[in-house]
């Protein structure tokens, strides 16, 4: 496929219904942090943007949502793909982004570099979408908080080494803070800013 045709291809075949199913999975996964949701509609965006990551972008981004992309994504066909399929303006300033995307194995910037919302409007914060190696099989963490009955164990593989510290610092900003969507292949795992994580002993 040529670079140009890559940009026009790979969107939803049936945007109205596919966006709805992807949204419902995201809603359920944000409402029940730690749950792994398998998306029933996927995108085929240009590499290194993943299928689930692409589907999240198609579902939630549009011209009202400035998008930040990691350096590797900026160098790929991803900016044009996102612009063509969603209309979302790709911007350089992390703290003005409504959505931010990092590809698998890409460096994850400190969460506090993104938009964190204000005390009056904590919703005006970035949703960070990070593709990881896998949503299971990594170092196990215990999650607690709204949406979790007692506790949940999550073990995403391929998170940054300092993830737990970064997340604790983000949690400490509540009600401000970013919200996180981890993706791998066809699935997502969502961590709203309310989830408290600790190492499983």
């Amino acid at each position: 496929m040529t670079a140009q045709s890559q940009i026009y291809a790979g969107g939803f075949a049936d945007p109205e219904f596919e966006a709805q199913t992807v949204f419902r999975t995201l809603m359920d996964c944000f409402a029940r942090p730690g749950t792994i949701g398998r998306l029933t509609a996927l995108a085929t965006p240009p590499s290194p943007l993943g299928m689930a990551t692409g589907a999240v972008a198609l579902t939630l981004c549009d011209h009202d949502t400035p998008v930040w992309l990691s350096p590797a994504l900026v160098k790929s066909a991803a900016p044009n793909w996102i612009a063509f399929h969603t209309g979302g303006p790709v911007i350089e300033l992390k703290d003005e982004a409504r959505f931010a995307f990092v590809e698998r194995d890409g460096a994850v910037p400190g969460f506090d570099q993104f938009a964190l919302g204000t005390a009056e409007y904590p919703d005006r914060s970035t949703t960070l979408v990070v593709e990881v190696e896998a949503l299971t099989g990594g170092r196990p963490f215990i999650g607690r908080g709204p949406g979790i009955k007692d506790e949940v164990v999550i073990a995403p593989k391929g998170l940054p080494d300092l993830f737990l510290d970064l997340w604790a610092a983000n949690r400490a900003l509540f009600p401000r803070g970013i919200d996180l969507v981890l993706t791998a292949e066809e699935s997502v795992l969502c961590l709203p800013r309310t989830t408290r994580l600790s190492i499983k002993g």
Partner: protein
């Protein structure tokens, strides 16, 4: 002519749905906080639940089963028109059975039957801001929420006690969500407040005229505001339902004749019917059935 072809699935255009969906995700991430959204004109007047309708329209899919209640009943005008609206614009399956529904839109009541993980409860909210009657300016109420300045709210409730000997507020009784935001549970009777606490279901609130969406995720702490010497209490009814004998449910008064005859029956009509089907019979049941 096929009417469905003239508008999008569930009526709203895709851009509006995306905007509302983003607001819903942020609302879930900040339990009890009111997320502003750009409310759209709907083909029904404000006061008919346009906020709830927009939330339902944005989450609804072709496989959902929708239940709509006004007070506790499925057969009141408001509930019937909203249900008919979604049948027309989304061709979605509808039910009056709480158990069968995946999405329940409500104007007042929370069903008596405990909700489950696979269900979402959508509230139609007229006034989302619990501090509004204390402070009319939005910039100020935003600040009060930001600083957790909820003292005035307690003063208002305490004035109730001073005047009446108890907290007189019976509807829209304020709650604190997960120890942080004070939230208005819409015109729900305070009887239902305990049902919100650690509910298995996701609860979404939409206020159309006021352009606010807020949420309570499952298993989230929802505590009714009160005082040590005047703890929160729900309404108690001194008799069971006259038709199904249910106790500890919310009862409505029904006038039977013009000679002052009346009975108290479940406000949740589906719950009452379920119980009668299961063989529970209250003192008025035989009389009701004979009349039908």
């Amino acid at each position: 002519m096929n009417d469905l072809a003239t508008y999008n699935f569930a009526y709203l255009d895709e851009q509006t749905k995306r905007m509302i969906r983003r607001a819903i995700l942020k609302a879930i991430a900040i339990p009890g906080y009111q997320v502003p959204f750009a409310s759209r004109e709907m083909p029904m007047p404000y006061g008919w639940g346009t906020g709830g309708v927009q939330v339902t329209a944005s989450i609804l899919g072709p496989d959902d089963v929708l239940k709509v209640i006004d007070q506790g009943a499925d057969d009141t005008t408001n509930a019937v028109s909203i249900r008919a609206f979604f049948q027309k614009v989304a061709n979605v399956a509808v039910t009056t059975k709480t158990k069968e529904a995946t999405i329940i839109q409500t104007r007042h009541r929370i069903p008596e039957e405990p909700l489950r993980e696979s269900q979402t409860l959508v509230y139609q909210v007229p006034i989302p801001e619990p501090l509004r009657f204390l402070e009319p300016r939005e910039t100020e109420t935003r600040k009060m929420h930001a600083l957790e300045e909820y003292g005035l709210m307690h003063v208002k409730l305490y004035e109730d006690i001073a005047r009446n000997g108890h907290i007189a507020t019976t509807y829209a009784y304020p709650v604190k969500v997960e120890g942080r935001y004070v939230m208005d549970p819409s015109p729900t009777p305070k009887f239902d407040n305990p049902k919100m606490h650690r509910s298995e279901a996701l609860q979404l609130f939409g206020a159309g005229r006021e352009k606010r969406i807020y949420a309570v995720p499952p298993y989230t702490q929802v505590v009714s505001l009160d005082f040590e010497d005047h703890p929160f209490e729900i309404q108690k009814f001194d008799r069971p339902c006259a038709l199904c004998c249910a106790e500890n449910v919310y009862l409505d008064e029904v006038v039977l004749d013009d000679r002052g005859g009346r009975m108290f029956v479940c406000s949740d009509t589906d719950h009452c019917e379920d119980r009668r089907c299961a063989g529970h019979a209250g003192p008025m049941l035989a009389i009701e059935e004979a009349a039908e």
